[in-house]
Symmetry: C2
Subunit: 327 residues, 2 copies
Amino acid sequence: MKLATLRQGGRDGQLAIVSRDLSHCELVPDIAPTLQAALDSWDRVSPKLAERAASLDSGNPPGDLMPFDPVKCMAPLPRAYHWVDGSAYVNHVELVRKARKAEMPESFWTDPLVYQGGSDDLLGARDEVPFGDEAWGIDLEAEIAVIVDDVAMGTNALDAGEHIKLLALVNDWSLRNLIPGELAKGFGFYQSKPSTSFSPVAVTPDELSTAWRDSKVHLPLVNRINGELFGQPDAGTDMTFNFAQLIAHVTKTRRLRAGAIVGSGTVSNYDRSRGASCLAEKRMLEQIESGTARTQFLKFGDRVTIEMFDAEGRSVFGAIDNRVVRS
Amino acid sequence: MKLATLRQGGRDGQLAIVSRDLSHCELVPDIAPTLQAALDSWDRVSPKLAERAASLDSGNPPGDLMPFDPVKCMAPLPRAYHWVDGSAYVNHVELVRKARKAEMPESFWTDPLVYQGGSDDLLGARDEVPFGDEAWGIDLEAEIAVIVDDVAMGTNALDAGEHIKLLALVNDWSLRNLIPGELAKGFGFYQSKPSTSFSPVAVTPDELSTAWRDSKVHLPLVNRINGELFGQPDAGTDMTFNFAQLIAHVTKTRRLRAGAIVGSGTVSNYDRSRGASCLAEKRMLEQIESGTARTQFLKFGDRVTIEMFDAEGRSVFGAIDNRVVRS
């Protein structure tokens, strides 16, 4: 099933079920007022949501249908209690290092890299995204994220997969020119990773059919800048750590509570013909090839679109389609 | 006023007003079910809470009083949407560097250091705190945190102070032996900063009277290990960045939403007679003085107590009093 959060009610919006073809939706206040409320009691609530979704997709639903409009969507979780983003496409990390002529430690192939993101202000798929200064080096990062239920401390990768309840697309906006100074301080990202955008809907893994296997999404993640195709790397290829392994890593010293979001990091393929999921990667390739990065970062007014299509060409999550604006 | 969250109802507990002397409390479901709900509408809700608190402290309250028992407390926000911790006592950072014979950049005196913490699982003042392995190097970090309402992107330090609605004490548990490997990877803390403990109550700034000035708390923060005094540095001394400056730093590229928690980092004084707020600092001093750190990290069964007393010797926040246990 597909779930969205409509911008009405309070800060957490209202939970809606969305038809598989993304044409219609239905509020479900009688089942759960918000997506977080549904996740808090997922085992009890999700069968009811699934039943309603089946009815919605049957073409003969009993409830009040509305046309589904992504403009009315907040992020599926407009605010979440935990947002940890991995860097599972190690090929991307290797490239970052290569561009600055640094060796990548061998351990990066076996020990996942993650960072903790801010989650009190997650952005909707059609929101304007405000930045203070173009000189900060505004960049997209097209990713996939999973949303889990309660996961115990010390959960291993074999057991972690069953905690994945929903998936969504993510634009993990990055401020490239703030990163070097911030990482040099040694405490990781903060100012350089502002609020993150999410797809209009989050979906249960079964919506991906056989494209969801080995805790990976085996479909291209398509991103466009101002309507022009920029990259479509396959999310199932070159993903060194799958989502189950990422969850096992993050629960080594803590438990995760229902609604925690775990991201894949920028999707990246060795096959350069697939393009990239961020401008930084294109710039690094230019740097390595010619000594100069020619591609510019984003400007105010630019539009960034991220979408994923199934084998039949149907949009799975709807499109992230944000415009970069001056704050 | 003093506010607590009692362990009843759902994952967010139930909001209670606590008497100034910490002897009694009263649930206030008619005003706000949870602390997050109160913070979501603070301007509207807080006058009602203040009125009820005044009545509670008058000795002649109208409602149903209960004895206040910190054992029944969850963290004031058992889960929060944002937890960012500063390192405002730069003296402490300087010492960390000195112990490993590294220079501290001059910019550390003018550009705050912060890290993003996990906030889906904040621990209560009397909870057992589980860790997988003593070899991880279990340490306390006694701190102060503020809780804000909505803060706009680009808020400057002059305006930031008015957004501070509540204060609490924090034990920002740290796993010292996981830190070097994690920081070497370049993305900051994650596994090395597990769930954080909070004091039984959060208080409005006026509860601190004149000890709250310049966006700092001018009182000693007392910590004990297994009942023995370990440190009582003054939180108002040697705090290079006050809370308003920390908030200005963290809102440079993002807004903060109501209920975001901003921490001070380990309280630390140049005056070594005040002791330390973490074992690491004592170990660094030993390392610098004698070449060897003799003090051991915490063991399973150890108790860590953190408390702050006003000028009349009354506990302001109640005591954090956690036992370290094997997970």
